[in-house]
Structure formats: C-alpha cells, structure tokens
Subunit: 462 residues, 2 copies
Amino acid sequence: MIAADSVLLTDLYQLTMLHSYWKRGMTAPAVFELFARKLPPGRGFLVAAGLEQLLDYLEGLRFGDEELAWVRGCGRFDPGFADWLAGLRFTGDVDAMPEGTACFPDEPLVRVTAPLPEAQLVETRLVNLVHFQTLIASKAARSVLAAQGRELVDFGLRRAHGAEAGLLAARACWLAGFHATATVLAEARFGIPAVGTMAHSYVLAHDDEGEAFRHFARDLPGSVVLLIDTWDTEAGAEIVVRIAPGLAAEGIRVRGVRLDSGDLGAHARAVRAILDAGGLCDTTIFASGDLDEWRVRDLVAAGAPIDAFGIGTRLETAADRPYLDCAYKLEWYAGRARRKRSEGKATWPGAKQVWRRLGPDGRLAGDVVTLVGDRQDGEPLLAPAMRAGRRVPGLPTLAEARAHTARELARLPDGLRRLDEPAAYPVEIAPALRALAAELDAAQLSSCRTAKSASRGDSSRA
Amino acid sequence: MIAADSVLLTDLYQLTMLHSYWKRGMTAPAVFELFARKLPPGRGFLVAAGLEQLLDYLEGLRFGDEELAWVRGCGRFDPGFADWLAGLRFTGDVDAMPEGTACFPDEPLVRVTAPLPEAQLVETRLVNLVHFQTLIASKAARSVLAAQGRELVDFGLRRAHGAEAGLLAARACWLAGFHATATVLAEARFGIPAVGTMAHSYVLAHDDEGEAFRHFARDLPGSVVLLIDTWDTEAGAEIVVRIAPGLAAEGIRVRGVRLDSGDLGAHARAVRAILDAGGLCDTTIFASGDLDEWRVRDLVAAGAPIDAFGIGTRLETAADRPYLDCAYKLEWYAGRARRKRSEGKATWPGAKQVWRRLGPDGRLAGDVVTLVGDRQDGEPLLAPAMRAGRRVPGLPTLAEARAHTARELARLPDGLRRLDEPAAYPVEIAPALRALAAELDAAQLSSCRTAKSASRGDSSRA
C-alpha cells in the first residue's frame, strides 16, 4: 500500500502541469513563495512553523516503484513521463523564516527557487505541511500568552484531523511554548516530554474510586495524577485526601489531581480547599475539558488555583479559525517577474525578502517587504534553509526554535498580544516592489487589450 | 524513523493504564462504545465513516522493534511490560454502523468488545480515525444535498490538516457522493477518480494566456479544462473562444473552463454567454474558490450556469464545525455495566444497539437506543464488523458504502436535509436502558455517600 505521505499525495494538476513542462522542456529556474494573504479575523500575528518537515519532504522527494507503476498505468501520460519522474529529485534552494518567527500577511514564509517542474510539483505538500503547523503554532502561542506561565499540555490527538495532524500539532504546541504533550509518538519522534494521567475508564473498571486511585499510584509511582471527576469531583478529592497518607507510607506521593468537567474554576477552588485541609498542599491541580486560550485567560484572571491546563480539541483543530488564507505562488520564471491579478487574489511579484525593525524598547516596530537585493533598515527575516536540494548546515534544532519562539513572543508589542481585537502591525510594501508590480500590470493590460481586440476580430470573422 | 501511524500514536495514559492492567491481570472482557454526545449546532445528522481504516488499524496493531525499544528505554515501566506488549494483538469484536449510515447523538457508531487492555489501548486512534471521516462525510453530504446533482470535486488537500487528513477527506467526500477528487493518492489508494485542471502558475509561466491554453490542451488532450481568471475572467473566456477552432482542427476539444475568483455567479453568466456566442455550447463551467455548502446552494438557487464545483478548504477542515463532540467510553467490564457520571458528560451504560423505524414514505421515522438483546421495532443499525480480531467476510466495499450513503441521504426527512435550523430527529432511550442507568446511579450514590463519610472520618482523625 502506498504510504499516506507518498509523493502522490498531491493534486492531479501538479502532475498534468509537470507532464507539459517535461514535454516542452520548460525547466528554467522559477521562484515560488508561500505567504498569508491576510490574518484570520481577530488574530494579531502568525508563528511560522513546519520548515523542518518541509525540508524532510524535499530531501526525500522521489517517485518509488509503486508510484511509477501508478503513473504508467493511469492512462493519462506519455510513455516516457514515468521514466523522467524516476530520476526527478528536488535540486533547488529554499529560503525561509526560521521556525518560531512572528510573521504577518504579504510576507513570504518560504521561498523556493528551483527548476519550474520541481518548484511546481512540491506546492501541494509544501502548503499542507507549513500551513498546518503555522496554524497550530499561531494558536498555541495565544494559549501560552494567556496562561502567564502556568503549564500547558496538548491533549488533542484523538480529535486532531488524522495521524499526522495529531503528531505535528504536538510539535507545533511545543514549539510555541507548551510544557509537554499527551502524545507518546511526539516524545519518541521529537523528544517532546509526554505526560499523562488516567482515563475515566480506569476508574470505572474498578469496584470503587479509592481502589482505582491506589492501584494507579502503586503501578506508576513516579507520576501520580489522579482523575477525580468520574462521579463527583469534590467527593473524589476527599478520597484522595483519605488515601494519601497510606500511599505516603509506601513512599508514593500524589503529585496532582485532574478535573475534567463542570465549572473548572469553582471545582478547582473547592478541591484546593479540600486538598489543603487534608495536608496535600503541594498536590497540584490539573484542569482539562473544552479549554482554549480564552478560557485559560479567564480562569487565570479569576485566580482559579489551577497549576496546569490540558488543552485539546479546540487547539488541535484550531477550532475558531481552522485554516489560514495562504498561497504558494509563482513570482518569477525564466528571468522575468510574474504577477497573478485574479480579483481579490493579486500577488506581489518577484523574489522577495522581509526586513524587520525593532523599536527602542526592543519590540517589533514594523516590517518592509521588498525585492531580494533591495536592502532596508533592520534585519532580514528569510534565511537560507536549503541549497541545491540539501539542508544548509547549522539549522536550528527544535529546542533552539522553541527558544526563538519565546523570544519572538516576548518582543511582540502589547497590542498584538491581546486575544481579542489586536492592534494592526505595520507591513510596508517597498517602493521598488510597488514599481515592479505597476510595470507588470501595465504590460499585462496592454497584452489583455490586444487579446480582446484579436478575439473580437476572430468572432466577427466566424 | 517511527511512522506517523505507529501504535505509539496514542495518549501516554493509554500505556500507563495498560501497564497497570497488565500488572494486575485486569484482562476480563470490556465493552467500549464510540458515540456523539450531541450534534454540532445547526447540523441535522451525521454520516458514519472511517470504519474501514479502523479495521485496518486493529488488524495491523502491534508493537514493532522500534516501538518496543522506546517502551524499554523511556524509564516509566516495569521491565517485563515491553515483552508483554511484543505479543499484544487486537483479538476482540467490533460491531458498527456500516459506513454511510445516517446517525444521531447517543447512538453508538462503533462498539468494541475485547479484553480490557486491548479495548482501552485502541481508544485514541479509533477516535482519531472515525471522528475525522465522520466529520468530513457529514459535512460533504450537506454539499451533495445543496448541489442538487451538479458535480462536486474535493479540492482541499493543501489546507487539510496534514497528509492523512487530506487523503481521508477525499475518501469521506467520495463516500458522501462527490464525483471525483483532486488528490492523486486517493485514486491510487482507493480508486476514487482524480481530476484536475491547471494552476495560475502554469499560465504565468507562459508569455501569454492563449499560448498557455494551447500548450496545456495539446499536452493533455484527453481532459482540457482551462483556468481563465489569472488576469481577467471574461478576457480569458474570449481567448478560449479564439483558440478553440484551431484546437478543434487538431482534434482537441476544450471540455471546460474554470473560474476561481470574484463573483462566481456573475462571471459564470458572462462566461457562458461568451462561450455560447463562440459556439462552445458544450464547454462546461467549473467553479472554485472559497466554496462551501451554503455558497453552492445559493449559486444553484440563483441559476448560475455552473456545471461542477470544486470545494476545498472549508470542506476539508470542516471550517464551520471542525470537530464533533464524541467520546469512546467504557460501558461494561467483568460482567457489570459501568456508567460515568461527570457533569454534562454522563454516559448510557451497557452494550447497546440502535433500532431504526421507517415511516410509510420510506423516510427515517425515529430511532431507539437500547441494550443489546432488548429487541425493538425496525432494523438494528450496528452490524458485526470484526470477530476475534479479524474482519467478518462480506463487508461493504467503498463503492457499496457510497451507494448506501446515497440511499441514506434519500431517506432523510426534508426537515433534516435543510442546511440551516434542521428539524430534530427523535432518538428514544428505551426503558430497559433507563432502568439500568438508574440502578447504577443508585448504587453509586450509596457508595459515594459511604466514601464521603469515611473521608470526613479520616479528616477528623487527622
């Protein structure tokens, strides 16, 4: 069975265009860029993410035997096409914002420079990989800001959209500053610390709650977090207090309790009082259940005695804004800048760079998008990530990218950090870029007029 | 590298609970059920989907060498645990609603009967697989109803949440009645017909639009659909009219044009007029760009001359409702029914079946949820899908499931087919089931009282 992340995980039109480029020898260098057209409503910034998986994909890109057999047998293409695909590799360059960089509309996150067929073929999976992690990292960063230092764990694998979404959401949350994940494979694959408590089923499989708690504590003495809401949250807390001394005598400490239903703030206060009165002052309270950045903010603002939050479905599906309006567009080919002018979807032409200025307070003060080579004040944001199909040496590790994200969040102006009605961030289009766009529009308008009059001429002859 | 769909793609608590069940020999049969707690706001029904992938997962479930190495090395578990996991297979039974069945809250979609550790371990991935396809099939079915027979193609791979989401969304859309997909791998893996047009980049990579159209047509003469909105939609249509006679002389027919921006209804009318005036009366119009079931409905209602719709991001992220409130819960273990009573999340205990009655018009008239063995009027919806860890013979093929879905949609009462404010569908909880829940609640209340007074006793002693 062909794997879900096969090179055939693409849109058919990529192959049909490739077929045409191959037949016509249209293999001159092309520049494509991925950018967001606008922010989702109510969002102040994005956090770039997913570059590592993109580079993995580009380095590993090839048509294997099963895929070539499909191409040969599907009845659409010339016989030689599959032979050419067999030798196809990604040989181009990638420049990109490092993962964790705060970014804004019109700014290229990723720039691909490669022979046209290669740069085109990778479009679908490139967007699929970078869009999703950027989406989740951007939302997770909002929870990090809202939690004001309280611990966050991503919990949403089961309702994430499939296997890869669950795994990569854990990575994006970690990048954004989460403290741990519930997803085992995220630890095994990326070294993200996995944590876990227990499910209601564990309690239900026992004859009573206290017995379930004792069994769980004895069987995993290193990390005892007990889920206390299966029947009655406060009664569950009383049971924890009752069994804690016996466990302590066995050398087992109840590290925490988890609340998963009802009014989490009210339950947390009641449970805190019960635990404190029972001498369990350093047993922490972990809350989960339908959480998102707004609920975390409100619980923190209300002073709820919650030490850590498990955030699941609403985060890992980016439930309020489950997609970004982003695109990967041809900006340059065979020596000429190119510009799409579709209504509401026009692009800025040419290979571009983003320059960022900081204010005297060290916070982000404004960006300029311009053509590569048109130097501006500040620091350029896109850096080399791949040259001639291989990663450049010294790219940030995941831990380094996470530290970069934390610095980026700290540098956001207060107006951008708000969960609602964030301030607008100034992104300027440089004069050189505007001039190029105007020049291309003028040339296109003239060619479009020619086409229209030619078409009228044809019709009158018909 | 461990694959994204490894058995380690699970929540850590599954492994910690498993570790405890293994140590205690808690391997008696358990029954878990997956069900929706409620419908997303504004939705009238769900379409069950994802069973085939679930059965693949259960049949293939095992800990491989890399996974066992992680378990041994992670520092959490007793030494013998990994050895036990090495021999673990799923040996249980699955009963489920066939894919494509219309379903409603409180109704089990999937029932798993297996030794407790097996039934528990599979929770995360089971939900992950069945939730997502059910989510997408349920939304795609709304587009099918809205399109009133016009062709639909799923287009959303690039903004689907990762690789598996893109692939399985294509499957769920096909199941729901879509006519084709843009995703190549969905054809290679599932036999779903893939279709494609061209991207703006193809046009932009040429010196003029007419040249791009001619090249594309000549290089893929079997299926020529030209994208005409790169600069000016109507000018693009004029160019198609101008080049069509030359292509016809070469034996190439322009099968269709695609619109992807602006007011799709207005452009479709203008383009239809241009094509008709140019003698291209059987060249179809394909529309895409920010579509969903409401926009399709409105375009159809307005009589827009659009023959086919490409629906992408909003469908494959289920953008308005990107998750279902569903859960997989322990209902029975070691000979006794079990019931979680968490606030707002109580479950109906015991192994259950759903019975469906049809009205005199052949439409769905009402369901009853009851205990297995409590026979009701109508037809039972859950059927055997797996016995002792192997698929039962004769399960529906994907094509059969698609035909079943079409029958199900045709049997929905008109009130449920509305896109907005759908009617409520009657799902009755049978007296036998209510009685069992009341009995368990009474027993639990009494045990909870005992625990509370015992806890008070402890505290006063402290």
